[in-house]
């Protein structure tokens, strides 16, 4: 038997019995029951499975669990909750951004990584950052509005300051 792989997900340490080449997504969903990240394509083409590895937004469907190493994993569940929402999640709610919602965790996680690295993104930077996140319901304009709303107040003078 090989040694179990150890992961830190949303601040909690886990051991997984998965084979090392298993995509991280299957471990998150099926072992840890973290259903925020979604399977969309398994090919790195749609962004539905996006999680954070450290500060970086990555595609968990193509990332072997053994490649995570000691970098902390964060899923949308670790970003914010209904009681304590991340500013982006609040903005998505305020803009009613979403329809079926299947793409949304990926959108939120990609946008959160963008805002962490580029707090004051241009419209083009937002669109480019989200270019690899597909939405079939056509919620794009609302998602863009939500990301702009969550950006700091100097672009959106009337918005409250981020915590």
């Amino acid at each position: 038997m090989r040694d179990p792989i150890v992961l830190t997900v949303n601040g909690t340490r886990h051991e997984t019995a998965a084979a090392p080449e298993t995509p991280l997504l299957y471990v998150l969903r099926n072992e840890l029951q973290l259903n925020g990240p979604k399977f969309g394509c398994g090919l790195g083409q749609c962004g539905a499975c996006t999680v954070h590895l450290g500060t970086e937004a990555v595609r968990s469907c193509t990332l072997p669990v053994s490649a995570v190493k000691d970098r902390p994993v964060r899923t949308v569940e670790g970003l914010g909750t209904a009681d304590s929402p991340h500013p982006l999640q609040r903005a998505f709610l305020e803009e009613q951004a979403g329809q079926c919602g299947y793409c949304l965790s990926g959108m939120v996680m990609t946008a959160a990584a963008l805002l962490a690295a580029t707090p004051d993104p241009t419209e083009e930077q937002i669109r480019t950052a989200l270019a690899g996140n597909l939405c079939r319901c056509g919620s794009h304009l609302r998602i863009l509005r939500a990301v702009r709303r969550a950006a700091p107040p100097r672009r959106n003078g009337h918005k409250e300051r981020r915590p």
Partner: protein, 777 residues
């Protein structure tokens, strides 16, 4: 709590459904409640009343109030809806309707949806018809309940009904100080045991305070926090993971399987074969995926012919043109042939649309648990009862022992693979005697979902000397747009692989083939072709987007021939004031400059982007919502790429229930249709569908989404509420084609408008059409 439920626990965590059992021997759980009950909504009798002739066994009777509404122990209201949430926001709209008639807060209404035995059988959730057809039923039920509750309150408070008022679910005596009682205190946990009163007094639209106001969607918070229960998250004790091994192409038969090819793989892999149905089951999901890849099987050849790509489409359209099926007349007025002969101008065109995929972002998924004494299926199906019957037929069990529990899936835009995945899971579970979850791969989803089929529209018309249309002759050649299971295994993919033949009818390709214009000599016909390379079925709007693309592009061509402004030209031929109103409103919204197309081209760099505007209009199904859409586009003359900058949509679907929900739908339908217009085409070759991932079947991405979609809602408070999921999808292709013509003088008549096609059309465009006009210096 009933004994039935006390034996098990429902645990809802992080959007997962976990059904836990007190005893392993408990096999009665196929009567479990929908997962939406996890929040503590009331338990209620599932079956119809014994001896009730009005509902088939196992279906809550439509005339019984308890089939629709319950007041729970916590005082919350539960609505039981046969119609389901497909991402369009209908559960919020239905809850608003209940809230309005009941005077109860929207946010405290739970909507249990699409579960056999628990929700009324309202048919499938299709055709943008939920608010339109289910809305009135739900409204009557809520009004009946209010009447009963207020009468009870009158007794409790010792005041006549006329002196009572209801606010937020609390009945109070008007000016009566403290005296009040809540619905919960009056009725928590009780059954109504009354029929829905078709004459229960309804509020007048002028009194509405909830309907017509934007209401936040009930489902969005969980979707944004990642905790929403999707069918993909359903996990059952003892559940295994299954995958189907698909034939290379439709029609290929399974010659042999080498089971030894997977026998050494981890996960206790089992192979299931039923005719040409081939699947694997393993303990872990990734093991099932690996096993499906590794399993060696020999297949015969399929039925897709020898051509591929463009050549395959050319051959298909040739066969459709030559189809000898007798046309079915949809309109025939006057003498079209004579009027065409006598016309000052005759004009002819042919339009083509390709196969397109629903392209749901989450692939189809289902869980099935087939036991000797009952079958439970969790599915995102649009029709739980129809799927129940089809699964029963497929498995050879009575429908009475099958339960389908609707659980939301990734958005579908019609008949995608949801039902097929349920059948896959059921066959695998039946074969191995354990619960099985099946999730399709991306390649399966794009390769095997039922497709919106290719269509061919041929039209000619004549203009008189004043530029009015005197003759119109239109024929659409199309396969059916409906192959839902409809209670039979034959229309499930698994059923076909197990030897049942796909049954196709003649549905939906003629939708919106008739136009709305006043034309004295008018002929419209549909030719139902059997040329269907890929399984055809319902995709947002069925035949309407293609027919409207043809009609509204052709109207633009006629307007150009008549040298008339395209808005003016349409208005001249419309007699319906609501039609005229949306056209004028869309034109205003887009600051339409009234002039004929194409736009006068200004001198400048030959490489500068060309801009243009185009309009298109329809009345959905010639009977319901009116929509007019203006597209503003830029065309790069070098690359031929189209960039849609802005869309303006004027929308009249009668009474608006949730304005923000409606805007969301209009934005979504518009963006998805821009994608279908510019990018989407299913391709195939002899060895199967070749557009099977997001690089071979690209859809619109953020950088290409328009800058803005301006929307004007023409709210008609006293008119019936019409559906709104599909109408706004229909005018988009023609609006873009007309805008490209305005910008370049080039006419696009085949979807999708790829840069190559734009370049070809520009090369073929008559020079005169792009160089005249007052804008020229």
């Amino acid at each position: 709590m009933s004994a039935d439920i006390s034996r098990r626990r429902f645990v809802g965590t992080a959007g997962a459904l976990v059904v836990a059992f007190a005893s392993a021997g408990d096999v009665s759980y196929w009567r479990v409640m929908a997962a939406t009950d996890v929040g503590g909504a009331p338990r209620r009798a599932a079956a119809s009343r014994p001896g009730d002739p009005s509902a088939p066994a196992g279906e809550p009777p439509l005339d019984a109030l308890d089939s629709w509404l319950a007041i729970g122990a916590d005082g919350g209201v539960t609505l039981y809806s046969g119609k389901v949430e497909l991402g369009t926001g209908v559960q919020t709209a239905l809850a608003q309707i209940v809230a309005e008639e009941l005077d109860f807060p929207v946010a405290s209404i739970t909507v249990v949806q699409g579960t056999t035995g628990r929700t009324p059988n309202q048919g499938s959730t299709t055709g943008s018809k939920t608010v339109q057809t289910a809305g009135p039923a739900v409204r009557r039920a809520a009004a009946t309940a209010r009447q009963i509750l207020v009468a009870l309150a009158a007794t409790r408070l010792g005041a006549p009904v006329e002196r009572l008022e209801v606010r937020h679910g609390v009945v109070a005596i008007a000016d009566g100080g403290e005296a009040s009682v809540s619905f919960g205190a009056l009725f928590a946990g009780h059954r109504f045991d009354r029929a829905v009163d078709p004459h229960a007094p309804l509020k007048r639209p002028a009194e509405y305070t909830v309907v017509g106001q934007p209401s936040p969607r009930l489902d969005l918070p969980d979707k944004i926090f990642g905790t929403h229960l999707y069918v993909h998250n359903v996990r059952i004790p003892g559940m295994l993971h299954g995958r189907v091994v698909r034939p290379p192409a439709p029609g290929a038969t399974l010659q042999s399987v080498d089971e030894t090819s997977v026998q050494n793989l981890p996960g206790a892999v089992r192979v299931v074969r039923r005719g040409d149905f081939l699947g694997v089951v393993a303990e872990r999901e990734e093991q099932a995926i690996d096993a499906a890849r590794a399993l060696r099987a020999v297949w015969g050849s399929g039925t897709l012919g020898s051509e591929a790509g463009d050549a395959a489409y050319e051959a298909l359209y040739d066969r459709m043109r030559a189809d000898t099926a007798p046309p079915e007349s949809l309109a025939n007025v006057g003498d079209v042939a004579a009027a065409l002969r006598g016309a000052a101008v005759q004009h002819t065109a042919e339009y083509r649309t390709p196969y397109q995929s629903h392209g749901s972002i989450g692939p189809s998924c289902a869980v099935a648990d087939v036991r000797s004494d009952g079958v439970t299926v969790w599915s995102g199906t649009q029709g739980a009862y129809a799927l129940r019957d089809a699964i029963a037929d497929l498995l050879g069990v009575p429908a009475a022992v099958v339960s389908v529990i609707w659980t939301e899936a990734s958005g579908c835009y019609g008949h995608n693979g949801a039902d097929d995945a349920a059948a896959d899971a059921a066959v695998l579970s039946q074969a191995i005697g354990r619960p099985v979850r099946v999730q399709w791969s991306r390649q399966e989803e794009l390769g095997w979902d039922p497709k919106g089929p290719a269509m061919l529209m041929q039209v000619r018309a004549g203009l008189d000397g004043r530029g009015d249309i005197v003759a119109w002759d239109y024929m659409v050649t199309t396969p059916t747009h409906a192959s839902r299971p409809g209670g039979k295994a034959s229309n499930l993919l698994a059923g076909q692989l197990m030897g049942r033949g796909l049954v196709l009818g003649t549905v939906g390709g003629d939708r919106n083939a008739p136009h709305s214009y006043a034309v004295p000599n008018n002929r419209v016909a549909v030719r139902w072709t059997h040329e269907s390379v890929l399984r055809p079925s319902a995709m947002r709007g069925l035949g309407a987007p293609a027919n409207v693309f043809a009609i509204e592009s052709f109207m633009d061509e006629l307007a150009a021939r008549a040298r008339t402004d395209p808005v003016q030209f349409r208005l001249r031929h419309l007699r319906d004031p609501r039609a005229a109103a949306v056209l004028e409103r869309a034109a205003d919204l887009a600051r339409w400059d009234r002039r004929p197309s194409p736009a006068p081209r200004r001198r400048g760099s030959a490489t500068a982007a060309l801009t243009g505007r185009g309009i298109a209009f329809l009345q959905y199904e010639n009977a319901f919502a009116y929509v007019a859409t203006v597209a503003t586009v830029e065309v790069d003359p070098e690359s031929g790429a189209i960039r849609v900058r802005r869309m303006a949509v004027a929308h009249d679907c009668g009474l608006v229930v949730n304005p923000d929900g409606l805007r969301n739908q209009i934005e979504g339908a518009t963006i998805q249709s821009i994608s279908r217009t510019l990018e989407e085409r299913v391709t195939w070759g002899p060895s199967g569908v070749t557009s099977v991932d997001w690089s071979s079947y690209p859809i619109l991405t953020f950088p290409a989404v328009p800058d803005a979609i301006d929307i004007a809602l023409l709210d008609r408070r006293d008119a019936p509420a019409w559906g709104a999921g599909e109408p706004a999808a229909c005018p988009v292709a023609a609006a873009i084609a007309n805008a490209v013509f305005d910008a370049t003088g080039a006419r696009l008549r085949e979807l999708p408008f790829t840069p190559t096609r734009v370049k070809q059309a520009m090369a073929a465009a008559p020079v005169s059409s792009v160089s005249e006009g007052p804008g020229r210096p």
